[in-house]
């Protein structure tokens, strides 16, 4: 076990997990994404920014296999993939719709285990471990309607981790949360991604959030959606909410991203 993670760690940055090759997405006559290329490597954290309507969500749905490309291809571990896979988990922005209100926290995590055919006897222990991993220990019996937005999003992340995914796709997962909760969840997410060596693809409209989390930032330009620029983030890890955000490199990137996004503001 230790050995394999060691090997993975040395290979990280080179081992390709997901690749998009000149993919275009159309809805009817409208071209939403046009010839997009991107490679996601194992353990990498990639954020996607871009003005509203530039196709960030569509990009994520393309990687998820929820929409098929009209041109080009999406390769998952080298094989073309056109339908959702259990190894690619999706954290939706609207956690209220993504969770099942008639199941408590345990039940919602259990859904992923049931779908994967995990025997009943094994589920309870794994559910408890997952819930405590996302900071929901003690809330096992709470229903989503009894939880704050931050707790519900944690619960959705726990359900995604229950899939034991290779890739974690997240669509503005913290967009609806207050600043304090958001920063807390950012740090927890970084820890989870580091520990599980999962590849993260994170859509956000918050530029500082993108810099704080990323190894790489993909900037989309709209009409039609295209990869406009890729920014490498070389900030040291582990990141820290205070010191990282004060580093000159952080401020330089922040400036660059603002300049980029400003071009599209009316």
């Amino acid at each position: 076990m230790l050995e394999t993670t060691g090997i993975d760690a040395t290979k990280s940055g080179t081992q390709e997990v997901l690749r998009v090759d000149g993919a275009s997405v159309r809805y009817g006559a409208a071209t939403i994404l046009d010839g997009v290329d991107l490679t996601l490597n194992r353990g990498e954290f990639v954020c996607v920014i871009g003005p509203s309507g530039s196709g960030k969500t569509t990009f994520l749905r393309l990687l998820a296999g929820l929409v098929a490309p009209a041109e080009g291809r999406v390769l998952f571990r080298g094989a073309e993939h056109r339908a959702p896979s259990r190894e690619i988990a999706i954290v939706f922005q609207d956690y209220a719709n993504a969770l099942l209100p008639w199941r408590d926290a345990e039940g919602n995590v259990s859904l992923a285990l049931e779908a994967a055919g995990v025997p009943r006897a094994e589920r309870a222990g794994r559910i408890r471990a997952l819930l405590s991993k996302v900071g929901l220990a003690g809330s096992e019996k709470k229903f989503p309607s009894e939880m704050s937005g931050g707790m519900q999003q944690r619960l959705q992340i726990a359900r995604c981790l229950a899939q034991e995914p290779d890739v974690l796709l997240m669509d503005e997962p913290f967009g609806a949360l207050d600043a304090m909760t958001r920063q807390k969840l950012q740090d927890e997410l970084l820890g989870i991604v580091r520990d599980s060596n999962v590849t993260a693809f994170f859509v956000t409209h918050d530029l500082e959030e993108a810099i704080y989390l990323s190894d790489r930032i993909v900037a989309l330009e709209p009409d039609p959606g295209q990869v406009c620029r890729v920014f490498d983030v070389t900030l040291p890890k582990p990141r820290n909410q205070l010191s990282t955000r004060e580093m000159p490199e952080f401020l330089r990137l922040r400036r660059e991203l603002f300049d980029f996004i400003e071009r599209f503001e009316p």
Binding site: A64, L66, A83, P84, S85, R86, I88, A89, I90, F92, D94, N97, A98, L100, P101, W102, R103, L111, A112, E114, A115, A116, F143, S145, E146, Q163
Partner: protein, 254 residues
């Protein structure tokens, strides 16, 4: 506060019931209609206790309850099952749903003679009659509930790799349950009507047959006793279903 409110309402409806029975007694005592056609609560009650003492009324009540229960369960399985099929399959929507549109307006009582032809004077005929009449509200509410499932839930099911069966059992049905419960209640009312109709046609025991035979014998008190008992059955079964609904939909009130 809410309990007090509920208690007051319960007392009020109880008082109304007592008042109605008292009014019925007054009307019967006034002899506007001949006593032979219009017995008061006193004579109805006597017919009831006589029937229970001899055991025949108990047997008939149990027979009716058994047919009602079986017919309603049959209708629920068919209605919810077909509803789930139509609600999750494009194919069924295109090919099966139009057939329903033809069958649905047929009054269940009108197909009773047809069923009689095929099934004879049997329990199966009564159960089929109930199932045919009572499955519609269940089917329609299930289809409606399924069509209201948020698209995100379908995407969750797909990304978790759930098959159609698991999707129906774990996501669609529980999500549609608030709608379906309404259909189950409506179906119960229809089932009670049709069990009586069926028993009056087959005359193989049960309260429907008992009422029919009492009518042929001009035994008004016996008729009223049967009707009163059917009223109680309707009330109690509906209340039981209400309890089940409250339990099953507990999550909605959190």
């Amino acid at each position: 506060m809410r309990h007090l409110h509920r208690g007051l309402w319960f007392m009020a409806s109880l008082a109304l019931l007592v008042a109605l029975i008292w009014g019925w007694q007054v009307l019967a005592d006034a002899r506007i209609l001949p006593r032979a056609f219009f017995p008061g609560p006193d004579r109805t009650w006597r017919a009831l206790s006589r029937g229970f003492a001899s055991g025949t009324l108990v047997a008939d009540t149990l027979t009716t309850l058994r047919r009602l229960g079986l017919g309603w369960v049959l209708a629920s399985l068919l209605g919810v099952g077909l509803g789930a099929l139509v609600g999750t399959s494009k194919w069924a929507q295109d090919w099966v749903a139009p057939i329903f549109e033809v069958l649905r307006p047929l009054p269940a009582s009108a197909i009773a003679p047809v069923l009689l032809l095929f099934l004879g004077l049997t329990d199966s005929m009564i159960l089929t009659l109930i199932a045919f009449g009572a499955l519609w509200p269940m089917l329609l509410t299930t289809v409606h509930g399924f069509s209201n499932i948020h698209p995100r839930r379908k995407e969750v099911a797909r990304s978790l790799g759930m098959g159609r069966g698991a999707f129906i059992a774990k996501i669609a049905l529980p999500g549609a349950l608030p709608d379906i419960m309404g259909g189950l209640r409506l179906g119960l009312t229809v089932a009670l009507i049709l069990v009586v109709v069926g028993e009056m046609i087959t005359v193989q025991g049960g309260l429907g047959a008992r009422i029919l035979l009492a009518a042929r014998a001009f035994n008004a008190a016996e008729i009223f006793a049967g009707v009163a008992l059917l009223g109680v059955i309707g009330l109690v079964t509906n209340a039981l279903l209400g309890l089940v609904e409250t339990r099953a939909l507990r999550w909605q009130r959190r």
